[in-house]
C-alpha cells in the first residue's frame, strides 16, 4: 500500500508540475517556505491569487538507527491580500521490525498573515497558525494548534529570518512526519546569488517535540535554485548538534511551482 500511495501522490504532483495547460508561473527562489529546505521560513506569503504546489521528499535517520521516508505534498493559496492558506498531507514510511510501515501522517491546515513589508524601521512581521488533525495511520493522537511568529530582515543580498512556534495541548504521541513539536525557535541566514538565481541558506534551531522529551539543537544547510521561470528546486541537509537528541541525518529535496487558475482571477474592469 505504502509505495503505491507514494507513487500515486508523486504522479499527481508531477502532472501538476508539468501540465502544459495550467497557467505557467514564476516562483521566486527567494520565497523561503517552511521545510523547503530549512525548517525556518521567511515572513512573506505567496502572492494573491497564486497557488503554490510543493512536492518534497525527506529522509531522516535517528540516533537509534530508525529511518523515515516522507513525502509531504503541500498546496498553498494566496486567498487574501498578504495572506495565504494551505494544506499539507504528509505520507510517511517509518522503519519497523517487519519492514516499513506506510501511511498518512496527519493532515495539516495552515494560514499565514503578513503585517508589513520590511522598512527602514521594522523587519517584515508575520504570524502563522497550523492545525494538525489526526488523519491516517501514522498521524499520532489528538488535534493540535500551533502558533508561529516570523520576522525577516535584509541587508542587501543577505537576509536574517527568526521563527518561533508553540503548540498548545497535552503531550500525546506525535505524527511520524511533519509533527507539531511542542515548541521550537531558531534563526536562518540566507544569501542570494542574483545572477544565478540561487539562494543559499543555513540555520540553527532548538526544538522540543514533547514537553517530556529532551531538547534538540539542530542545524541545516540548503539551497534553492530557479530552474525555469516557474519551477524551483531545493535541497538540504540537517544534523543534530547535541549528542543526546536530534537526527543523525536528514536529507531533503523537492520542487515547487506557482500557478494561477484563470477562473479564480479577478476579471479586471471592463473597457
Amino acid at each position: 500500500m505504502g509505495w503505491k500511495l507514494v507513487r500515486v501522490t508523486m504522479a499527481a504532483g508531477g502532472l501538476i508540475l508539468a501540465h502544459p495547460s495550467l497557467a505557467q508561473a514564476q516562483i521566486d527562489y527567494r520565497n523561503l517556505d517552511d521545510d523547503r529546505p530549512t525548517l525556518i521560513e521567511d515572513a512573506y506569503p505567496v502572492e494573491r491569487y497564486a497557488f503554490e504546489l510543493l512536492t518534497p521528499w525527506r529522509f531522516s535517520r535517528d540516533r537509534a538507527g530508525g529511518t523515515i521516508h516522507a513525502f509531504v505534498p503541500e498546496l498553498a493559496y494566496g486567498l487574501l491580500k498578504n495572506a495565504q492558506f494551505g494544506l499539507k498531507v504528509p505520507i510517511a514510511g517509518a522503519s519497523a521490525t517487519n519492514g516499513r510501515d506506510w501511511g498518512v501522517s496527519g493532515l495539516r491546515v495552515f494560514a499565514m498573515y503578513n503585517f508589513n513589508t520590511e522598512s527602514r524601521s521594522l523587519p517584515a512581521l508575520s504570524i502563522r497558525s497550523d492545525v494538525t488533525l489526526p488523519v491516517g495511520r501514522l498521524s499520532g493522537h489528538g488535534t493540535r494548534l500551533s502558533l508561529k511568529g516570523i520576522t525577516t530582515r535584509s541587508w542587501g543580498r543577505t537576509r536574517l529570518h527568526l521563527n518561533g512556534a508553540y503548540t498548545f495541548g497535552k503531550d500525546r504521541p506525535l505524527a511520524a512526519a511533519e509533527a507539531a513539536n511542542k515548541w521550537w525557535y531558531g534563526g536562518a541566514v540566507d544569501h542570494t546569488l542574483y545572477r544565478r538565481s540561487v539562494l543559499l541558506i543555513g540555520e540553527v534551531y532548538a526544538l522540543r517535540p514533547l514537553a517530556s522529551a529532551p531538547v534538540q539543537v539542530n542545524t541545516s544547510v540548503g539551497l534553492r535554485i530557479q530552474v525555469t521561470p516557474y519551477l524551483v528546486f531545493d535541497a538540504g541537509f540537517a544534523r543534530r548538534l547535541k549528542r543526546t537528541a536530534g537526527p543523525d541525518l536528514e536529507l531533503t529535496a523537492g520542487f515547487s511551482r506557482a500557478f494561477a487558475l484563470p477562473g479564480l482571477m479577478p476579471a479586471g474592469r471592463s473597457r
Binding site: Y49, N82, A165, W183, A260, P262, S270
Partner: protein, 472 residues
C-alpha cells in the same frame, strides 16, 4: 522549562506587541500586497523564443535598481564615481551576459525598497504588463485577433489594481520636466540617463518587429535588427543615446495604434522612472522627505483626472520633444555605417525637429554587440545589412537609388520600415553629420526628404507650452 518559558514569553511578547503596541507603527508601514499576474499558456514565450532580448530586460531591471540605490545612498560628491562604476559594470559585463531570470531587485536596491516600496511595486506591476505583452506577441499559437483581445485583457487586469496601476490617461510631460526638481538627474548624469532612455527605447521599440513581422523569420530578423540598433546606441556614449525620453507613440506607432492604453501606461511609467531619479538626485529634497515626495508623485500618476493631456496632444508630443531622431530613432529602420567620432553631435545641441538627418540610433557597429548577437545577426540580418551598407556607401549607387523611386521603395520594403518611420535613402546613406551643419554648407540635397514625424516645426519657432499642465 526555562527554555519553554522563554519561548512562551517571546511568542506572547510578539502577540502582545502586535495587539497593543505595534498597530500604530504597523499602520504606517507599507504592505507587501503582491499579486499574481494574469495566467495563461502565453506566459514566458518571449523568454523562450527571444532569449537574447528577454534576458536583456533582466539586466535593465538591475540598471534601474542600482541607479536608485546609488542615488539614495551616496552623497552627491560620490555619486559620479559610483554611477560611473555601475555604468561600466552594466555596459561591459551585465548587459553582455544578462541573467537568465528576473533579478531580485530588493537585493540590488535594499535601501530604496525599504524607503519606497510602493514605487517598486508600481514599477514591478507595469513591467509585468510589458513582459506579458511581449509574451502574447511571441506566442505563434495565438491568432492576431486573439492577441489583440488578450493584450486588452491583461491591460484590464493591470488596471484593476488601482492602488498600483499607472493611469491609462496621458499625464502632462510637465510633471517630468517642469517641477522644481525636474531634469536634475539627466543634467548631472547624462550618460547614465542616456542608458536608461536607451532601455526605454528598446522596451517599447521591440513591439514593432513583433507586430510587423509577417512570419516567424521576419519577426526574428526584426527583433535582431532592433537589438542591433540598441547596441549601436551604446557606442561612443552619450552621443548616440536618445536625447529625449522615447515616447511610445513615436517609437512604437503600430503598437500604439493597436493598444493606446498600454502605450500610455508605458509612457507614464517611463516618466515616473525619470521623476524618481530626479527626486533622488535632488539635493534640495532632504533625505527625510524623499519618500513623501515620491509617494506624492506616485499618487499623481495613478490619477487620470488632473494634469493630463488628450490622446491627440500626447501623440503630438514627439514634435515638441525633438522628433523620432532625438528619441533614439525608429525601432525598425535601416542601420548605416558608423560616423566618425569627430562628427558626433555631442558638442552640437540638436534643436527640436532637426535631428533626422543624423538619427541618433542609426549607426550599428556590430563590434558593439556581444558575440551571441553577432552570430545570430550573421544568420539573419547581417549579410543583408552589410550588402545595403556597402552599396549605399558607393556614391554612384547611392545617386542611382536616390534617383529611382522604385529602388527607393524596394529598399524601404526590404527593411520592413513602417511608413511613418521611413527615412529617405539619402538620409540613411549619408554619413552621420550634425544636421545643423548641412544648411551652413549649403549642400544641395539631391532629393527633398519626405515628411517625417517631428519635422514640421519651422526652425526657430518657439515651442508651445506643454499640454495638460497649467502654468502660473
Amino acid at each position: 522549562m526555562t527554555r519553554l518559558l522563554a519561548v512562551v514569553r517571546m511568542i506572547g511578547g510578539i502577540g502582545f506587541g502586535l495587539t497593543l503596541g505595534l498597530p500604530g507603527t504597523l499602520g504606517a508601514q507599507d504592505r507587501r500586497e503582491e499579486q499574481f499576474y494574469y495566467p495563461g499558456s502565453f506566459n514566458w514565450t518571449f523568454l523562450k523564443r527571444y532569449p537574447e532580448a528577454a534576458r536583456l530586460f533582466n539586466a535593465f531591471d538591475y540598471g534601474h535598481a542600482v541607479l536608485y540605490e546609488r542615488l539614495l545612498t551616496k552623497p552627491s560628491v560620490e555619486r559620479d564615481a559610483a554611477l560611473e562604476k555601475e555604468y561600466q559594470f552594466l555596459t561591459t559585463n551585465l548587459l553582455l551576459r544578462p541573467p537568465r531570470f528576473a533579478i531580485a531587485e530588493e537585493v540590488i536596491e535594499p535601501a530604496y525598497s525599504k524607503l519606497a516600496w510602493q514605487a517598486k511595486q508600481m514599477f514591478d506591476w507595469a513591467h509585468l504588463l510589458h513582459r506579458q505583452i511581449y509574451d502574447i506577441y511571441s506566442d505563434e499559437r495565438v491568432s492576431s485577433r486573439d492577441k489583440d483581445a488578450l493584450i486588452e485583457r491583461v491591460t484590464d487586469y493591470y488596471l484593476s489594481r488601482k492602488d498600483v496601476a499607472f493611469t491609462e490617461v496621458p499625464k502632462s510631460m510637465a510633471l517630468m520636466d517642469e517641477q522644481y526638481f525636474s531634469q536634475i538627474f539627466r543634467t548631472r548624469h547624462p550618460t547614465f540617463n542616456g542608458l536608461i532612455w536607451s532601455y526605454h527605447w528598446l522596451q517599447v521599440g521591440l513591439y514593432e518587429p513583433l507586430i510587423l513581422g509577417r512570419t516567424v523569420t521576419e519577426k526574428q530578423s526584426g527583433v535582431k535588427a532592433t537589438l542591433a540598433r540598441f547596441w549601436s546606441m551604446l557606442e561612443d556614449p552619450p552621443s548616440r543615446f536618445p536625447k529625449a525620453m522615447p515616447m511610445t507613440a513615436t517609437i512604437a506607432p503600430t503598437f500604439t495604434a493597436q493598444h493606446p492604453r498600454a502605450a500610455v501606461i508605458f509612457d507614464n511609467l517611463h516618466m515616473m522612472h525619470d521623476i524618481i531619479s530626479d527626486v533622488l538626485a535632488a539635493d534640495t529634497i532632504p533625505k527625510s522627505r524623499k519618500r513623501d515626495v515620491i509617494y506624492d508623485q506616485l499618487a499623481e500618476f495613478r490619477d487620470g483626472t488632473k494634469n493630463v493631456m488628450s490622446m491627440e496632444e500626447w501623440k503630438g508630443m514627439s514634435e515638441m520633444m525633438g522628433g523620432i531622431g532625438a528619441m533614439g530613432g525608429a525601432a525598425t529602420a535601416l542601420l548605416v555605417p558608423v560616423a566618425p567620432a569627430a562628427d558626433s553631435s555631442r558638442e552640437v545641441p540638436m534643436p527640436p525637429g532637426m535631428t533626422h538627418a543624423r538619427p541618433a540610433g542609426d549607426s550599428a557597429p556590430m563590434e558593439a554587440m556581444p558575440e551571441s548577437h553577432r552570430t545570430h545577426t550573421k544568420e539573419g540580418m547581417e549579410p543583408m545589412l552589410e550588402l545595403h551598407q556597402r552599396m549605399l556607401a558607393d556614391p554612384v549607387i547611392r545617386k542611382r537609388v536616390e534617383a529611382d523611386t522604385g529602388m527607393r521603395r524596394l529598399l524601404r520594403e526590404a527593411m520592413l520600415v513602417p511608413a511613418s518611420d521611413r527615412v529617405a535613402p539619402e538620409a540613411q546613406s549619408r554619413p552621420a553629420k550634425p544636421a545643423v551643419k548641412a544648411p551652413a554648407k549649403k549642400k544641395p540635397a539631391a532629393k527633398p526628404m519626405p515628411p517625417m514625424p517631428g519635422m514640421k516645426h519651422p526652425a526657430g519657432k518657439p515651442m508651445p507650452p506643454m499640454p495638460g499642465m497649467k502654468h502660473p
